[in-house]
Subunit: 415 residues, 2 copies
């Protein structure tokens, strides 16, 4: 069963969670002075509209018409009930998912890439730079850039550039200029931290260029809230009063924030973050100020972190290999409003294959983490013999991650 909304029902405002976190969010600090950063500190990298959204306390923020026009190419995304998985589990739980895999880039990432490209274009920027690891964010920004006629330069971690050519080709198909990083060390396999440094240096050094980030920051999570807002409308159409639990996988926190933030004010709705045991930021990290990147170029952010020099094992869910978490997600976990759980890689692939063989679609390895938690919640409901409404974010498809399934199906997958 599926609940589609017509394009006219795409939300016209973003849901801002900041008013609901009053007193719980500390400001970012300048890396040199350790004083709160101001708009002027960020202006070389970001357009003023995004800098303003980063600190806005308005309860909702209007989505520009030109952004809506582009998002309507695939939004609203469907809400689907996973009845075949329910039947296979024999659970009394009702499992609903938002299918964010339907975007042209195959994930939720374009929800923020599009407004970021729009605001930069509107302020006269000609060119964006960014980094990408596995390639989900880089491809989303190349897609958004082609919609608004911007150049896009992507610094791709060299190991991925060499081993995962499909994502690179996807970015080039949308007109992106993709180079391996680090640019100055052609024999180095690279890292996300080094790629961020390359991209920030590029933007800081050119007046026509800004930098763009795909997760962690407040404005990124804000843009993703179309997901949860649509889900609320669609759950009502499905006859559900409210979900008992909302689930998303968590790397930096953008897809999790997108589906869960609109439910923060709602009583009786549990929020659940799912992360890999190999990079257990929320379940095993410390809450403290830390850098967003390895090189220490970014502001210090108040978040759960494993330390900015932590190197996660090279699991297939590349989008979950981040040493920290969005300050907004961190604040919710710290206050107890959001729970967190961690799973080893093999359990998430077991869940992903069960999904593929019941529901049909092949999820991204990141999404497999959410599915594992969904299955456990559904089995707990069966154990307790009680109904439960589960909502989760199907953040992306796995069609460009099939080598990971190959490893899993042929017993080559480490935990």
């Amino acid at each position: 069963m599926r609940w589609n909304l017509p394009p006219s029902e795409l939300p016209t405002t973003w849901f801002n969670v900041l008013p609901h976190l009053a007193g719980q969010l500390e400001p970012p600090l300048h890396p040199a002075t350790r004083q709160p950063v101001g708009p002027d500190d960020l202006a070389p990298l970001f357009p003023m509209a995004l800098i303003a959204q980063e600190v806005s306390t308005e309860p909702s923020i209007e989505i520009p018409g030109e952004v809506l026009d582009v998002l309507r190419l695939w939004r609203p995304t469907p809400l689907i009930r996973a009845t075949r998985l329910e039947n296979a589990l024999g659970t009394p739980a009702r499992i609903y998912y938002k299918d964010e895999s339907v975007s042209p880039a195959g994930s939720h990432k374009p929800n923020t890439a599009v407004p970021q490209a729009y605001y930069n274009k509107a302020e006269g920027v000609k060119r964006l730079s960014t980094e990408t690891g596995a390639g989900q964010w880089g491809s989303a920004l190349c897609l958004a850039s082609t919609f608004f006629g911007l150049e896009c330069k992507v610094y791709m971690v060299r190991a991925s550039f060499q081993q995962k050519p499909y994502r690179r080709v996807l970015m080039e198909t949308w007109g992106g200029n993709v180079v391996p990083s680090p640019v100055d060390k052609p024999d180095h396999p690279g890292s996300l931290g080094a790629a961020i440094s390359d991209a920030v240096r590029d933007a800081a050094g050119r007046a026509d260029t800004h930098y763009s980030l795909g997760s962690v920051l407040n404005h990124v999570l804000l843009h993703q809230t179309v997901i949860g807002q649509e889900a609320k409308t669609q759950l009502a159409l499905a006859g559900e009063d409210h979900p008992d639990v909302v689930i998303g996988c968590c790397g930096g926190g953008s897809n999790l924030g997108g589906i869960s933030l609109p439910f923060v004010p709602d009583k009786g709705v549990r929020l659940l973050a799912v992360e890999p045991t190999s990079c257990p930021t929320l379940t095993g990290g410390r809450f403290e100020y830390d850098f967003g990147d390895t090189a220490g170029l970014t502001p210090l952010l108040p978040m759960y972190t494993l330390g900015h020099d932590f190197v996660p094992p090279s699991i297939h869910a590349g989008g979950l290999r981040y040493h920290g978490d969005a300050p907004v997600i961190s604040a919710l976990v710290r206050s107890g409003r959001m729970e967190a759980v961690a799973y080893p890689q093999s359990k998430t692939f077991e869940a992903a294959v069960m999904w593929a063989r019941t529901q049909g679609t092949v999820p991204a390895p990141e999404t497999g983490h959410a599915i594992k938690a969904v299955i456990d919640e559904a089995l707990a409901a069966k154990e307790e013999g009680k109904e439960k409404v589960i909502l989760f974010n199907y953040s992306g498809h796995g069609l460009l991650d099939l080598s990971a399934y190959d490893d899993f199906l042929h017993d080559r997958l480490p935990d």
Copy 2:
């Protein structure tokens, strides 16, 4: 702009074109006797329900409820207006497309794989065998088999098996058993004809196994007519009286048949088949009885053909590399009801990249052929300064064909 239909509006019958082709379709002939084949000749390979559909003259045929239940996982598919492409072309034409890429397998192929698996299951078959070239059909049948608890054995052309592991992994993720073909010549790169022979021999030699074909036959095209029927309903919702032209790429003819057959009785609707110049069956072939496979094991079919020993160049649109055409499509072209046009590979990739940079999604190389014809029709409308309603079938996405885009973008693509 998009027109979604609720799952309840999935057509509950298939549109049968055979009554509209009275006297135009000659029967298939037995390869040995050259007499018309009867049900008994086909019973070792196909379930009786499909054999009956192959010759039915009922105007419509009911879709079983269990088939509808599975198709509703992704159907009805959206009808979308390609306004960004229209604007880029500056055309007065209105371009609509059916997005068949939203199925779990990424193409229209599951529309027939699901009923084929269902009817086999219903008649007690435990196991299906088939062949696959690039992998679209094999993955659709593995998907359908997992839904109905059937084993699925896929003989994959060895060159593809070795060079395109992603499609093989996709089939395995759905539980399929995929082996390289020819099975008895481990050093041979293989061919579709040899793979058909392997699959037919497998089914003929085991009582628990039937063979399954993904195109060409009447029942296959019948199952695809959900596409065109949905499109009619959706065009009405969009305020269109009828399309002026309906366009699909043509290999065996199943996606083209799916979108165009329901329009066969409609006056004022042109039907257009698009094929590669490197395998020009409709534009350069002879109309005669020929074998469906290279080895000459299948019945002789009345169709346009380049000869069953014709070896098409290895273009990237693997789904269009077939020496013949569906008898239904051949009859329509022969009678003048359907037109045909051929394009070289490079022009179709130019069109596909223009699509990706305006509409966002990356089409399959096969679909790129349809898009090239759509662009030419839209430019002709601009030239003539008149409105035109174009409907085409977006038969699949190109996310597992990105190496072809890599070749095109870096000038390594031959025509």
